[in-house]
């Protein structure tokens, strides 16, 4: 569904990612893991057109999309839930969700809104409240719900568990898995490596802008280097 080759993006003269190759097969969950500053967010932003890559190719549904404006990428069926969630703090929860469906003109928007409310009942309770008044976990649910309102074929999630309490983290990962099982392909960026590898089909490890390892998620999880660096030493068993 998504095929990235040789993707390179810089900030000024600093290359943040250097020739990344990555494949996201239709229907799968692919996890992209790596330490702080490895270039995960840069990769995600390059995919949706918020950053213009210097080199490389992004093929989405058979079409080259590198350099395409973000609203066109959304239109093709790729949505990003950004790091830090980007909730519209001064707009109501309901308006946040409506804005997710900004480009849609079909009649099923309302039905999709009901689906989001069913998935996240707390959002329905708070639909008249301003987005900024929600807790971190609720904001993450809102950000995911809002992205789903665009009916993406590929959903990109940038550190959805960041800063959340353990119980909420478990909730978020369960929801990600459900969304995938309902047919949405997912590219997941996480620092919560254990959980990310548990739900993923494939995984890529990013270090200082380069993919250093990739494969089936359970194989990556068994890799000694990954266990050492991300899973708290060799004792860690998934």
């Amino acid at each position: 569904m998504l095929k990235i080759s040789g993707l390179t993006t810089s900030y000024g003269s600093i290359k943040a990612i250097k020739g990344i190759d990555l494949d996201v097969p239709e229907g799968s969950i692919v996890s992209l893991i790596g330490a702080n500053g490895a270039g995960k967010t840069t990769t995600m932003k390059s995919l949706v057109g918020l950053l213009k890559p210097q080199a490389g190719q992004i093929k989405f549904l058979g079409r080259e999309i590198q350099g395409l404006a973000p609203h066109k990428v959304v239109n093709l069926g790729m949505s990003l839930v950004p790091e830090g969630r980007n909730i519209l703090a001064g707009m109501m929860v309901l308006e946040n969700l409506e804005m997710g469906a900004y480009q849609r003109k079909d009649k099923e928007v309302k039905a999709d809104l009901e689906k989001v409310f069913k998935r996240f009942p707390i959002l329905e309770e708070r639909k008249q409240q301003l987005g900024g008044t929600l807790s971190g976990g609720q904001q993450q649910m809102l950000a995911i719900g809002r992205a789903l309102m665009a009916r993406p074929k590929l959903l990109l999630l940038d550190e959805p568990s960041m800063g959340l309490a353990p119980l909420v983290v478990a909730d978020i990962f369960r929801v990600i898995q459900e969304i995938n099982q309902e047919g949405t392909t997912i590219l997941l960026v996480e620092q919560n490596v254990r959980q990310a590898l548990k739900i993923a089909h494939y995984a890529y490890v990013l270090e200082t802008g380069k993919i250093v390892l990739h494969g089936k998620a359970e194989e990556v999880a068994r890799n000694p280097r990954v266990m050492e660096a991300y899973l708290g030493g060799a004792k860690a068993k998934t």
């Binding site: 918020l50 609203h71 239109n75 980007n86 519209l88 001064g90 900004y102």
Partner: protein, 295 residues
């Protein structure tokens, strides 16, 4: 006396509100002060004047014409002076300087086209009729100004809060990046917002030109400064703040004159603004954080 002055103050203030709304909208989406707004306002006044004087159109048609002219100037400014700067990483001050350039250009252009002298609307533009409403004498000009200003503010509020495009403007005002991620073509929305803000400026020019019955190339400067003061006073990009701030400034000015301190009119009005800013540095409706709640 009191009610009469209140009506006069509201009339004057509603034009300030309208001008400040133009600043506010652009501040909202682009986070810059449009220093050319006063000159767009002035151009609107001249376009209205010329439509009435030479094409002999109805004053309301002239207002619509001034609005269109303002919107066109705004569109041009966005395409020529603002958008090219957004594409590359330039200093945050660059667009501000760019709008100063546009303002100087427009003022000189007006001097060249319309000449330096002050001009008045022809006497038939709007009848000088007055009405007695209880203790208040109100002229037709005042009624038109109040009606158009409050009408436009009401429509704008409603449009921003209820329509798809209005919501897209609010989203862009909260964060251009988020708006992009949601599939909004933010260049289009910004263009629309700048055109809308400038259109409001253009029509405000005709209203003010009518009320003081004088239109001149320098009128943009003093009005621009007042609009700017209201922008800050109202809370940097808050729409309710701009509306209320304009009314307060207008009422303060009129009462200062009415109670005998006419030569201190601006001093007192701005003194009140400074005083309120001491108590609420973020403005009457501003939030102390940069996040959210703008419109």
């Amino acid at each position: 006396m009191f009610w009469q002055q209140l009506v006069n103050g509201l009339t004057l203030g509603s034009t300030y509100s309208l001008v400040a709304l133009g600043y506010t909208l652009i501040m909202g989406v682009l986070n810059i002060i449009n220093m050319a707004h006063g000159e767009i306002f002035m151009f609107g006044a001249f376009v209205g004047l010329f439509l009435v004087t030479y094409l002999k159109v109805n004053i309301f048609v002239a207002m619509a014409g001034a609005m269109v002219a303002g919107a066109l100037l705004g569109t041009l400014m966005e395409i020529v002076a603002l958008r090219p700067l957004r594409r590359r990483a330039v200093s945050e001050l660059a667009p501000l300087i760019s709008t100063i350039g546009v303002s100087i250009f427009l003022e000189n252009l007006a001097l060249k086209i319309f000449g330096p002298q002050s001009q008045a609307f022809p006497s038939g533009a709007l009848s000088g009729a007055e009405m007695q409403l209880g203790p208040v004498r109100i002229s037709l000009v005042q009624i038109v100004i109040l009606g158009i200003s409050f009408g436009l503010m009401f429509i704008l509020r409603f449009w921003l809060s209820k329509t798809r495009v209005g919501k897209a403007i609010r989203t862009t005002a909260e964060s251009i990046e988020t708006a992009n991620l949601l599939g909004i073509n933010t260049n289009k929305i910004i263009l629309l917002t700048v055109a809308l803000a400038s259109g409001l400026g253009g029509i405000a020019g005709v209203l003010v030109g009518l009320s003081i019955n004088a239109v001149e190339p320098t009128m943009g400067l003093s009005m621009g400064l007042k609009g700017l003061a209201v922008l800050i006073f109202g809370g940097m990009g808050n729409i309710t703040g701009a509306m209320l701030g304009g009314l307060i400034l207008g009422i303060a000015e009129v009462f200062t004159v009415a109670y005998g301190a006419s030569s201190y009119r601006d001093a007192v009005a701005f003194g009140i603004i400074i005083l309120i800013l001491f108590i609420r540095p973020q403005g009457i409706f501003g939030s102390s954080t940069r996040q959210g709640g703008r419109f």
